[in-house]
């Protein structure tokens, strides 16, 4: 176990989470509404305190997304976002926060002249990306991509769902690369008004695993961030709430960047606040009977 943790210590991503604990991970769709806008927005999210930024590379069949991100993906595709242009953008970006690409498996497979994951991973590494998240790639199908990522020093982040349990959970948690993306609830992405019970249950279930855990799917407010971090997460992942802001403000609009920046600040503040609460409990607990330390 400790050997594995050492192996991931070169991970920019894990480092970003551990160092900026509790971490804020933000997501937007590249090309929504244009790649120029995306550049501005990423810089705003970076300024706003994002510790990691996920950039969605749009795929025509986004089966894991809710309506908000689906719509963003359609806008991005209509604007002519392609993998080539996406990487050109990433080449240009200079952010404090490490960047990840989030896309569907077919996009990765088709990059280059033959169906093969390696050209994509190479280009991603070249562009300075730190990791990849693939919503339709469960651990069982991940070998080829994991090999390629390992070869190029990229993290391949896995999602842990509320339904993930037993032997599969153990296996996935033992292979965490970067962080465990904890899916807050069943269903698709999309901003929700509350934090689900499933989130609390999952974090309890996962507390035995000593890996960085970031919670996504439905987080939209500073308060949610606080609650989630307090419940044991190491980071929160926010996407739809940010995409909503972009959709509201439209293209080429300075206020969109400003809104994203201030939303990021709110979320980061919430996360910190949750972290302090948790520390309070933990100290409280440490003062109390005796913790079940391993």
């Amino acid at each position: 176990m400790s050997g594995e943790q050492t192996a991931t210590i070169d991970s920019d991503i894990e480092a970003a989470i551990r160092e900026n604990h509790p971490a804020l991970i933000t997501y937007i769709t590249a090309g929504d509404p244009s790649l120029e806008d995306t550049k501005e927005y990423v810089e705003a999210l970076d300024r706003g305190g994002s510790d990691l930024i996920e950039l969605g590379l749009p795929f025509s069949e986004p089966i894991a997304e809710g309506p908000t991100i689906q719509a963003a993906i359609n806008r991005a595709l209509d604007a002519g976002t392609t993998p080539a242009r996406f990487f050109d953008l990433v080449d240009e970006l200079e952010t404090d926060a490490p960047l990840l690409v989030m896309t569907y498996y077919n996009m990765i497979l088709q990059y280059g002249s033959e169906p093969d994951v390696r050209p994509f991973v190479e280009r991603a590494a070249d562009a300075g990306l730190s990791g990849i998240i693939v919503p339709d790639l469960p651990a069982e199908e991940a070998d080829p991509l994991r090999d390629a990522c390992d070869d190029h020093g990229l993290d391949l982040v896995f999602i842990v769902a509320p339904t993930t349990a037993g032997e599969r959970l153990d296996r996935i948690m033992s292979q965490v690369s970067g962080f465990a993306y904890v899916q807050a609830r069943l269903g698709t992405t999309g901003a929700r008004a509350d934090v689900s019970n499933a989130t609390h249950d999952s974090l309890t279930r996962l507390s035995a695993y000593d890996v960085p855990k970031a919670v996504g799917f439905g987080v939209s407010e500073g308060d949610h961030a606080a609650e989630i971090i307090e419940a044991g997460a190491d980071g929160v992942i926010v996407g739809s709430a940010l995409v909503d802001l972009i959709a509201e403000h439209g293209t080429g609009d300075a206020p969109a960047a400003a809104a994203l920046e201030s939303k990021a600040r709110e979320l980061k503040r919430g996360a910190r606040c949750g972290g302090e609460q948790r520390n309070g409990h933990e100290q409280g607990r440490e003062e109390a009977p005796e913790p079940e330390q391993p």
């Binding site: 894991a64 990059y111 169906p115 339709d136 069982e140 070998d143 599969r168 899916q183």
Partner: protein
């Protein structure tokens, strides 16, 4: 990752079954993986091992409710026209009007055995949706069908049928509002409700174990046909011809013949108006996936696809809504690669002509999907040997309006004059 590979005893068995050669697999969100494992388990127990008499009940219900066996009919006038023996497998006579019920009833029954409380399904033109709604009504399971908004509006009779069978119909507004979007949306529902819901997928597509499960329910077609042709013609056929959308009637018609190496298998896809893909617009004026597609991942499986070089799935097009899909079953992709199945395509005009020809010569109005298989017979009969089985996957009543509209636009030799209203 080294752990996965070092774990062969537990992993290899399901892994081997998860794919057909390089095709298949389970490219789905993590949240669905446990449900797929549960389904694999149920597939093994109930379907393969007939636990609790599942397959017996399935067969009995397909007989009494579904109308099986369907006949294998010698087509006298086609036989004369093509100067060889032509037999039609009459899936148009299955309850609901197509082979679709074979699968829908099997899966709804399986869901019941699994203790699921709710059925969801996607539908394009409405054939799979109506079959699922019928099966769910018959087995008293709540049922919701996702259907693209465009399809809802252009396939009203099927929407009504589903409602009358008590199913909810959920219009999907995303994208072009057709089958692809409906599948995406059904997967989203499933990802949300997976614990108590079974997703009845409509063809031999999707993640493992769906392609095998659906094929096994559909293979009753070839199981019957193989016996029938031997009884009626005294020997195995020289070839079997079936249309292919996702490919469920296709593999259903082929499966039991796959080991019979003397029997040629032809999967006929929709050639639409042309076999080219417009890369810029992301449009294919066909859905000839097996003939022209490239390998990729769609809706949970690695298979042949119609896609742009970037990997975006294109909008396919065919006069036949049921063939209008950019993917195809992974097993068919594999059998085409290995040479066991020959892919072919027939364009819109040829399919329409074949529709009119069968109606006129044999008194059977075939589905536009099935008309592709019949169009291939017209074009290629000389290569098909002396004894040919064509799968008539469904009836064409559902297609009357489309056929009238499309016939009016063209100059088809086989079309009758239908204007009797002003005489």
């Amino acid at each position: 990752m080294s752990e996965t590979e070092s774990n062969p005893p537990a992993e290899e068995e399901p892994n081997r079954e998860r794919t057909f050669g390089d095709y298949g697999g389970q490219y789905v969100p993590e949240a669905l993986m446990p449900a797929l494992q549960e389904l694999e388990d149920a597939y093994q127990r109930y379907v393969l091992d007939n636990e609790d008499g599942f397959m017996d009940e399935f067969r009995e219900r397909m007989r009494d409710f579904g109308g099986r066996p369907t006949p294998l009919q010698r087509a006298d006038r086609l036989s004369e026209r093509y100067d060889r023996e032509i037999y039609l497998k009459r899936e148009d006579l299955v309850h609901g009007g197509a082979h679709k019920l074979n699968n829908a009833l099997g899966q709804v029954l399986l869901a019941k055995y699994m203790g699921k409380e709710r059925i969801i399904a996607e539908t394009g033109a409405g054939q799979h949706g109506t079959a699922t709604a019928m099966a769910a009504a018959h087995l008293d399971m709540p049922c919701e069908i996702y259907m693209g908004r465009t399809d809802v509006n252009r396939q009203r009779p099927n929407v009504y049928r589903m409602r009358m069978n008590g199913a909810e119909v959920n219009p999907v507004d995303a994208g072009s509002g057709t089958l692809k979007e409906a599948i995406n949306e059904t997967m989203r529902d499933w990802a949300t409700t997976v614990e108590r819901t079974h997703y009845v997928i409509g063809s031999i597509v999707g993640p493992h174990p769906f392609p095998r499960l659906v094929r096994d329910f559909q293979s009753v077609i070839s199981a019957e046909a193989r016996d029938q042709i031997q009884e009626q013609a005294g020997r195995l056929p020289d070839s079997v011809v079936a249309c292919a959308g996702g490919g469920s009637n296709t593999m259903g018609a082929f499966h039991e013949f796959v080991p019979d190496s003397s029997v040629d298998l032809y999967a006929v896809e929709a050639g639409g108006s042309s076999l080219e893909i417009d890369q810029d617009e992301g449009l294919a004026p066909n859905s000839a996936t097996l003939s022209t597609g490239t390998d990729g991942v769609l809706h949970g499986a690695m298979t042949k696809l119609l896609q742009t070089t970037d990997g975006q799935i294109v909008e396919s097009h065919s006069v036949s809504a049921g063939l209008d899909y950019a993917g195809v079953g992974p097993e068919l992709s594999h059998l085409v690669d290995t040479g066991r199945v020959t892919p072919a395509s027939v364009d819109d005009d040829a399919a329409l002509n074949a529709f009119h020809r069968l109606s006129n010569l044999e008194g059977i109005i075939p589905a536009l999907e099935s008309s592709h298989a019949l169009g291939f017979l017209e074009e290629a009969h000389e290569e098909l040997g002396d004894l040919v089985v064509v799968n008539v996957s469904g009836r064409g009543d559902k297609d009357l309006e489309t056929v009238l509209e499309e016939t009016e636009k063209r100059d088809l030799d086989a079309a009758p004059d239908v204007e009797v209203f002003d005489r």
